[in-house]
Symmetry: D2
Subunit: 367 residues, 4 copies
């Protein structure tokens, strides 16, 4: 199996021309799993409907390309907020079976040395019931979905570089609603348990959204008011996997931690210039960042306005990070999201890079 | 004469505790010129009154410290918008005469070699009349005010590193209003003429806000609906000037140009680590950045949302730059403003750094 | 022919349950024309995609009910901004042929006396080309589309109570963009010419958006960045038309003109209590209001903040009017839009009410 | 003693020209109490500094007019949010002693019949300590301050038409912060106890912000992050009081309750036209409205967007009410504030009108 990552720009949330074009390069019969990570450009407030529009249109595009069975093998993550230096765009990630000619997934390249190449797995919980939202049971469902995704990817928990967890914010059958921090807590701590990152005894309801010393180190969580199940996408390097992509991830100290971003890019195989920028941006197949702010609103000991302005803290943080990461990567095609609660230490973040082996032929617009 | 720069944090726009403390270190009788550059934290929209509040309180503080004569020798620039990684704070810049003991302004340090140390001058036009706003006559008034400030600083036009120009947006005696771009054009092009940066024949009304190839390279312009006159603060290195501060400035390619920021910091004498960050942030007495966006909203060839979101482009840009510059400087105490029209090429910016000579004793919170 | 108006609430812009239910009551074969007027609830800024989402889903619903031929006979108007007392909802207006049993369209009721009952017509221009946007030619296309719609409704220009004009803001083939005021000018003045409301000699480009004494008295204009053609819906009472609905319209002095709203409601047949509220809200089949603000931001001689706040003037005005009209009508199911430029005197507005004859059986949620 | 109410417009939050002019008409020696109620026009978010600016400037103006002793006898209420049809303005309310000629305070006019004329009292608690904020002790402090104000006005609790309660949101000595709803609960329930409106046994902490059936009927509460004490202004009609002003108050069903506003205006002596508007607006010395929204966001059974938009619910509600009350009063000079929690039933509001007796000579801009 070979994982392939393509990117495509959008002219608006309802634009699927780029997606359709990238899908066209994939033989539906060879697609084991399809993942779509898209940044949409609505106002990122409660009355932002860009995500719903984009998801709707993407579903149509996937249906048109591969029918209901391809749609069933696909996971979608539409994330609002493409501020600042970011470009509204998407990553189309496909896990392809090897029974075709395999020109884009040759085994045995340099990239596979020292830890394998990119593998992908997905997991999905049963429907989370109203009374369960934000509870220990919700954590258990998230943990199982991550465990399932790790197995689906053929990885061990240690090999996982990133678990993307999409988790419900509202009960399916009754309108229990928890805070976004609480919903993120259950997703992140479920992942942390599955990945062996935290002690089980510390994962108690009273800690959700409160004990900020309790966190996963390799997950990004997205809460969704539409989702009914926990959905998980896991990425990691698997020895023997095909393709020429390598992934690396690492925590960021805070939103200004450009050196941390460089370290992750280098670990995934990217070269860096003396200027501190990526030497060959075309080899970076994906850059994903989850960024956060400290609960007290300070940054490096100084007060900021992220908690005391008319603009939501997450918008401040995404926009800042678009500059920090963009100035390293040299482009605005990056998947940045905010609110790192329980996904890093207080104010920290997570950076994930996927880089194509040097000399390999690239795909997608980043090439 | 010795220029001294102190910085102070604010707990809010009306907070003058830090300013009063820094003023306390200055003997009013020795202050030849005083300049106050403050970032305030209102919403940076038309109904932001933080600037008015802060200016009012600062005026009281300066009056209390040195009376009307000190106020008369002072120039104030309150700039709204302290988003993202920025800390609401101010720079207090004092040009001190040398008849005191001079411990903070010794002549002959290493810093004075190779081009002198920081010198400061101010200039002020007569009141700009309604019919003149945005016109060639307005440009001429700005040019003269810059020329006066250069002379006041004892600099030649070539030695100027930065001309800060505050210019009226509305006529004093009749309500002529021009766009912010047009008001900035007259300020920037007046400075460009005074500094010998553009051909006089190209500075025509039809070009204001339109011919983006016409720009100053060492000025930052602020338009103000309260100002009645063009007010100018000029900074540059003067051979033989006292003190241990050196200034450097340079254009930035775009809002992601972290390498350009590093080059300016290095030129002013700051050391940089292999990580791309400032080695000794305590020596950076001031960092000022004017950042911009391209007129078509693209960045490095990709679409952004800065022109197509509910958030003002200038807020996007300031916030992005707070990340880019903050990740180099390692702190949010930076004076960042947006809209670089006629102050750089389309989408470009200007970076200015003032750095204390290595080994010198610092002042202010940045020490 | 009989015009029928149903209303339906939406749970969100993508919700078509109510629309589908109301469509279910209509035999597609009997629908001569279908008009859909919907208020959506996005942020009403440039990054509001609720309109696109709602239009997309509505199109699917109409297609599912009556196929492409029904869609071809339909006109859609999705209008963003459902603030304040407004409920996000829609009006489904159907012009039905009389070859069925006609129980909801009996001819000869009291309602037909003194001027007929509600009739409906539509018109559509050819594609407006880039160079034409905002020009006299654009006005001519709008005028012809209104004239066509009047004919389609079987009305004389004098009998028209309301012409809804949807007009492009951007050229189809080249990116000419005009201001919203200029786009509205061509729509409103085209309607004014078709309805005989203004002198042809006064309709010149220089007046668009500027000469505020030049206005239609019976049109509401909506500019759209998606529309390629001018599309028109005309409503009026036609002697001999079927059904039990009567329409009336009238200008409002300003956004506080509750008495003007009462007069229009009364003219359409609604009763009013001594309290100044509608006696039988169930008989009001539709209330549409276009509201505006004076170009100088004053209201009844006093300054307001509509031009000097971070909130768009149109949002202020829609929200104010939702209170004024809602306090008369007693519900938030009203179609209110803002920016009345060239559709009323400076600061004025237009109110349109459709009322069911007393004693008639109502339909829709307003009943 | 005679109460006099003047109004003045502001050109901005820092403008005290109107206030200074109205103060000029008052002999400081005759002023027993001074109250200033001002609407400011900042963005009404956490980064709105218009209130601080306006309060600062007003304090200077009062000091300049009557020195520290007049300031000590004054209470200020600056309230942000002057959206929609509202004019940024202020009421200056003075309680004057009768040892002057008394031409504006003759006893025995028609206005005094049937219940007296307007009287005013103030009360102030000790500093509320951090641990007390939002607690029963805070309620007790509020109750005592209201009781003191009632006594200061020479009224019985039954005669009180309005208690304005300004209450701290944050502890003075330690940063305990409660929600705005909880802070409002203690202010409103303290007033309700002082005015005999609720059973003491029901006023328990668990009910604050939660038991919406528990409410005062004659108080308006404002929480302030600057205030350290509970401050109270009480208004009511006192038999034998001087002047020609009468006050009336009454609950409003909801934000659309224009009939309720008319009833209060009529009860205070205003005439109403058949159109439902005030016959002689010049006689209305003051109109104050506290408006609210239901906790579930519905209005008259229909969904609204007040809880599900990017705009704060209070801005929606103030703007709606500016239309409802403005369409009755005929002007935007009204003191409207939002969030009626514990000050009316869920979604209800309070309207207060002060009307000058017919035939009396008016003062202020409303005349």
């Amino acid at each position: 199996m070979t994982v392939r990552i393509d990117s495509f720009d959008t002219a608006g949330p309802g634009d699927t021309a780029g997606l359709t074009d990238r899908l066209g390069a994939l033989d539906p019969g060879r697609v084991r799993r399809l993942a779509l990570l898209v940044k949409t450009e609505g106002n990122a407030d409660v009355n932002d409907f860009s995500r719903e529009l984009a998801a709707w249109r993407a579903e149509e595009a996937v249906l048109a390309h591969g029918g209901a069975s391809l749609l069933e093998r696909s996971v979608f993550l539409h994330s609002t907020g493409a501020e600042g230096a970011m470009t509204p765009f998407g990553y189309l990630i496909a896990d392809l079976t090897d029974d075709a000619d395999g020109t884009d997934g040759a085994v045995g390249t340099d990239a596979t040395e020292g830890g394998g190449t990119l593998a992908l797995g997905v997991g999905r919980s049963r429907i989370v019931r109203g009374g369960e939202i934000g509870s220990q049971q919700h954590v258990a469902l998230a943990e199982q979905a991550v465990t399932d995704a790790v197995a689906d990817a053929g990885l061990t928990p240690d090999q996982v570089a990133l678990a993307i967890v999409k988790t419900p914010l509202v009960g399916h059958d009754e309108p229990t609603r928890v805070t976004s921090a609480e919903a993120k807590a259950v997703g992140a701590l479920g992942a942390a348990l599955a990945l062996g990152e935290v002690e089980r005894s510390r994962v108690v309801s009273g800690a959700f959204g409160r004990d900020l010393t309790l966190f996963s180190r390799r997950s990004m969580v997205f809460s969704s008011s539409e989702a009914a199940r926990v959905e998980v996408l896991v990425l990691g390097n698997r020895p023997g996997a095909g393709g020429d992509l390598r992934i690396a991830s690492g925590l960021l100290d805070d939103v200004l931690d450009a050196p941390g971003i460089r370290r992750v890019l280098a670990a995934a195989g990217a070269g860096l210039t003396a200027d501190g920028t990526v030497a060959d941006p075309g080899r970076v197949a994906a850059l994903l960042v989850k960024a956060g702010h400290r609960h007290d609103g300070t940054l490096r000991g100084a007060r900021t306005t992220v908690l005391t302005s008319h603009i939501d803290p997450d918008k401040h943080i995404r926009t800042v990070m678009s500059g920090v990461a963009g100035s390293v990567l040299g482009t605005g095609r990056m998947f940045i999201s905010a609110n790192s609660v329980h996904q890093a230490h207080d104010g920290g973040g997570l950076c994930v890079a996927v880089v194509r082996a040097a000399g390999a032929a690239g795909t997608g617009e980043t090439a």
